[in-house]
Symmetry: D2
Subunit: 136 residues, 4 copies
Amino acid sequence: MTRPESPVFAHHVRVRYAETDQMGVAHHGSYIVWIEEARTEWMRDRGTSYRQLEESGLSLAVTRVAVRYRKPARYDDLIRIETRLSELHPASVTIEYRLFGPADGRAAADLIAEAETRLALIGKDGRPMRIPQDLF
Amino acid sequence: MTRPESPVFAHHVRVRYAETDQMGVAHHGSYIVWIEEARTEWMRDRGTSYRQLEESGLSLAVTRVAVRYRKPARYDDLIRIETRLSELHPASVTIEYRLFGPADGRAAADLIAEAETRLALIGKDGRPMRIPQDLF
Amino acid sequence: MTRPESPVFAHHVRVRYAETDQMGVAHHGSYIVWIEEARTEWMRDRGTSYRQLEESGLSLAVTRVAVRYRKPARYDDLIRIETRLSELHPASVTIEYRLFGPADGRAAADLIAEAETRLALIGKDGRPMRIPQDLF
Amino acid sequence: MTRPESPVFAHHVRVRYAETDQMGVAHHGSYIVWIEEARTEWMRDRGTSYRQLEESGLSLAVTRVAVRYRKPARYDDLIRIETRLSELHPASVTIEYRLFGPADGRAAADLIAEAETRLALIGKDGRPMRIPQDLF
């Protein structure tokens, strides 16, 4: 079911030098790692440690990822990532992300990218399992 | 215009140890780098060196990426990536990728992932420019 | 000249999932990126923004790196990195790092790795230049 | 025991776009991943699949890495990596690497970097074990 009202969680990452490329901006693959970090912190904020989830034998496997790049992120920029639950189905969860560049005081921060990941819960037997309603 | 008949170019990458994660499979972010390498080799095969393109002051910026993961890729697997032009518009080009796991002799190789990237051509002034029909 | 008394700056990084490998620990290459981030924050703390340094046309090129791994770093661990100036020569600066795993309350945090980088200052002409004494 | 006469194995990697940074050259951390790939192919050439080694419950943990950077590697360069056994002790093996840039026809390829890794063999119990003489 779609959850347009689900609360937003904000996390920040600072662009690392190793994450830039010779175009002089953050490489587009870096965003995948940033939103994964944001998702981990969002889960922690909601009371679920992904580390403990894995230690209990379960895991969340990414089955789809999509990113739309609007403006570049630059080295040393502090990027704000807003994470929210988008859809929760018995067999998958969709999470949305909005990435914002640094605010410069005068103007609001720019939306630099939007992303979406779909995840499946994998059980101890290595197969997808029903997602408990209270996991997220 | 959509080009369902455009030819397919095959490139192989071997999964690096550094590309795995503790789930014991290739991290989902690694695919972004693999398809970028496949795209470079596909362009070279079509007569366009991306390196020379950049040296001439132009660049191709990724504006969208989407990956659908079907089966895991494992360390040391030789992954076959099929690249083809999907859509060519004046301001963007869409490229499709199909990734296959190693064939095991008896059976056909598994389709492990599908991906799509949209790129814009950026001119010397840093702005998007019209894509020449003969670039791809 | 060696500076055994130079002050230590502490920075923390949390191990990302993408930084683990299938051995179930952080990949040894990740440490290179962590100490680069620590170095940037150490410079910022000392009043030098590496970003501004590059924007002024200069850059610091890594000419040597060495890491000694003592204990593994694990996913989600908060790693403490202690950075300090080790040697400052006219043409190079050597920086030392000590990495510590998470303290568990009862015991002191473990030293998990030691590292060292040597850097040269590259001028606007692309050549090494004398390092100003007040840069660090 | 030091083995100055041990044979050299050559492997090539092509610098990926994602491996560059905004200095316009390959990021120094990329070399760690390249020499790991070279080491895997060197072992395969000598009859040991690292993948099979891990599947048998053993693993090689990197305990030290050192890289000396001499000249930059650039995007799309085909880098030649020469790998050879340097020292084989009961509890560790040291492997040396020499990296060369692309030959340009007229001149010999430049030595762009030298590296060294020390590895320990980890047994099924997670502890270092004696390295069999025939492993390398």
